[in-house]
Point group: C2
Chain length 444, copies 2
């Protein structure tokens, strides 16, 4: 980062947008620095597979360092950005001020609880590997508890899985949990009464997958119901407690509540000092920059980009990736003294999976539902999965699951907060007599 | 578990011993109940691969339910045993008293800090998936921190990895961390000075791998040194602080301290009301039962078994597995009114891996070191890995790592203590509802 002959580009966030920008700038005559709070890129469209024990974290996430390869002009640093000094062209982190010539802010979004942040621990959302592992732990644990109660006491509580939000994430979670409950786990548990397992998808609006055409929404709802999901549209959640979801006067008991109802852009959007929209997104110009700062790009879920007709860009991976590529090209244009072109989003279609052999797909010229849509979804997602090795492993896992109905990664792992509470012992205790004598442990 | 015509066998612990007993009793005319605090069996000999980012948890752990298959007479329950009532033949758990005709206690062991339990958060040991993920997080995080410091400020602190304990776990951790630091991560990080990375293995006794013949210990030490590990034998650790390891007057700075110095048997040994040895193990009779209770077996790391010559059985997986098989056979003998035979341990040899193409192996008639020993180790471990599917995945990962020097699972995942701090709203908890956090850390 000390070569002053080349433009210094700082990218914040290693999601789809930031990574795509980095990849396309790596060979340019720039000095590139990617900052992220995590050391890995997460393939978010498959997070629900981790949450439902189908895939392991390492199969859908890859270290940013290895994705970007071993280029001398590319640095990846694990760092938390706290703010900006746009006048002095500095990114502020906890332990440094980092100068840039170009800044690409691609910090993404998290869940929004619409002002009810106290609901988060009660109804986790699905944005990170950690979220997915926590959801997996909760789902598998309620099955284990029910099995134990039934085996030892002859009965168990109802198992109600409530998914709040009927967008793509809610739909795939509801569909997959139903499959897991009905098929993958049915043979594992002897005492659980399948009739006491319900999966309820609650959507505030009139239909699921509201971003899709109405007939695809209807198809998705039909496919969900066929899988066994109870779909409750036009139903607004008014409160979430530890074992309940309140919808006005109706109270639904819930063993596990999951949140897929809304996203809020990263607080870094506000830190840019620009007005943001209600979701915290930063309005950007046709070249994805913010007004008055042609060197500051905002892309992906953090950007509010409207096309010439005023239509908002959807918060999907392909849009973020196209913006990332566009910004890389724009910086290269600048460096070559070519004029900037405006960003144009090429909507190649969208797919939402619902479950085993169930999906909807909308392409510019045609639509698909059911098995063909699911095959298209599968093919496209495997092709996009970053890294050849991950692709092979995921294909094996999926082929295995498809034919055996088994879920390969259904481990309940406790998180180790205990170990991380490093007690600072003021010089500890004086060595006293060993309580127990060492025993040799050897590998098999 | 309510069929009163067949013997009720309760197994505590799904480690190597308990699982082997369960597998060999599954087809017998018994009603079998396996209790464990985790839902999965962990292939402990490969835990160090998870700790050093080579493998993912699901590749070395399998759900107990699926390993034991779908037999009507086999129940697996996620449950924490708190005690026993041997007179009334009951296992006591938090929410039930479970009757048995035969009891097999295979609760295993955890680390022993020789009375210094306050060292545990400062120097985690390696017994569970959670331990391995925490160690992986610590190792990768210090590399990331050093890279950031070096990139932003031009220098970084020394990276000292101190492994306490020169048994098989300490040796494989020290060897593998050195490899990771020298090779797998060397190309990932641009700014870290490899000369400032040290791996120090501290052993209190005069040689590493003390359970092996002296010439193999010497070979192991030579192989470690060749990899770049500093081996400090006859060196006793007297204190551990957050960034230091004290050895008498010498203070070694430490970025990550790992504990592989001793194990202590599960407290369930004491709960049997028998005298235990200094390591907490329960002395057992030649048929692996405790005196006065021919229906109560103790096996694996929890048992103190001495052969006819007074030699103690080693705390290794093959010994636990052989005990498990023996107990299954003995119960079947009882049911068929055949006399019991005493347990006889068949020592087929032992292997310890040190790193890439480095190991030592001791078989009854010959010894091996270096590459051939490593190949033997690799073959035996892959063959023993439970589950066909895991074997395939592990082979792919290993082949990949071997040829590319890449580590596939180097994700830093933050643990999600935040999400698990469920605030209990007073009006939200139905009386008999399952707790949100029922999963306890287990010691087996």
């Amino acid at each position: 980062m000390t070569d002053t002959n080349v433009a210094r580009v700082v990218i914040i966030g290693g999601g789809f947008g930031g990574l795509e920008a980095a990849t396309h700038l790596a060979k340019a005559p720039v000095s590139l620095l990617l900052l992220d709070r995590k050391n890995h890129h997460t393939f978010q469209p498959l997070l629900y597979q981790v949450a439902t024990a189908g895939l392991s974290p390492a199969e859908i996430a890859g270290p940013l360092r290895s994705i970007l390869g071993n280029r001398k002009n590319v640095e990846v640093l694990l760092s938390e950005v706290t703010g900006f000094d746009l006048a002095r062209k500095l990114v502020i982190t906890a332990d440094a001020e980092i100068p840039y010539d170009y800044l690409i802010v691609a910090a993404g979004a998290r869940h929004s609880y619409f002002g009810h942040d106290d609901w988060e621990p009660l109804a986790p959302g699905l944005k990170t590997i950690e979220d997915a592992l926590e959801i997996r732990r909760r789902i598998l644990t309620v099955f284990e508890d029910a099995e134990r109660h039934a085996a030892l006491h002859g009965h168990h509580e109802d198992l109600n899985f409530v998914v709040v939000g009927g967008g793509p994430t809610g739909v795939e979670l509801a569909g997959t949990i139903t499959e897991v409950a009905r098929q993958a786990l049915a043979s594992d548990f002897h005492n659980i009464d399948p009739k006491r397992t319900r999966v309820i998808l609650v959507e505030g609006g009139p239909r699921v997958l509201a971003a899709y055409p109405p007939d695809l929404s209807q198809s998705a709802e039909d496919q969900l119901k066929k899988l066994g999901v109870e779909v409750r549209t036009s139903t607004v959640v008014t409160n979430v407690t530890e074992h309940e979801v309140h919808m006005g006067n109706e109270i639904l008991p819930s063993s596990v509540t999951l949140w897929a109802a809304g996203v809020a852009a990263s607080p870094l959007g506000r830190a840019l000092g620009q007005p943001v929209d209600k979701a915290g997104r930063v309005p950007v110009l046709p070249d994805c920059t913010i007004p008055g700062h042609p060197e500051v790009f905002v892309i992906g879920d953090l950007a509010e980009f409207k096309d010439a007709t005023g239509k908002m860009l959807p918060g999907v991976a392909p849009a973020a990736m196209q913006m990332g590529r566009y910004v890389a090209k724009t910086i290269k244009d600048d460096l070559a003294h070519r004029p900037r072109q405006p960003f144009h989003y090429n909507d190649r279609g969208s797919l939402a999976t619902i479950g085993r052999a169930a999906a909807v797909a909308q392409f510019p010229k045609f639509k698909m539902t059911g098995y063909p849509a699911w095959l298209a979804w599968l093919f496209i997602h495997i092709m996009f999965l970053i890294g050849f090795r991950n692709r092979i492993l995921v294909i094996i896992q999926w082929a295995w699951s498809y034919f055996t109905y088994e879920r390969g990664a259904r481990l309940i792992t406790d998180e180790v907060g205990r170990l991380r509470e490093v007690r600072r012992s003021p010089d500890s205790k004086p060595p006293d007599a060993p309580e127990l004598e060492p025993v040799e442990r050897r590998s098999a």
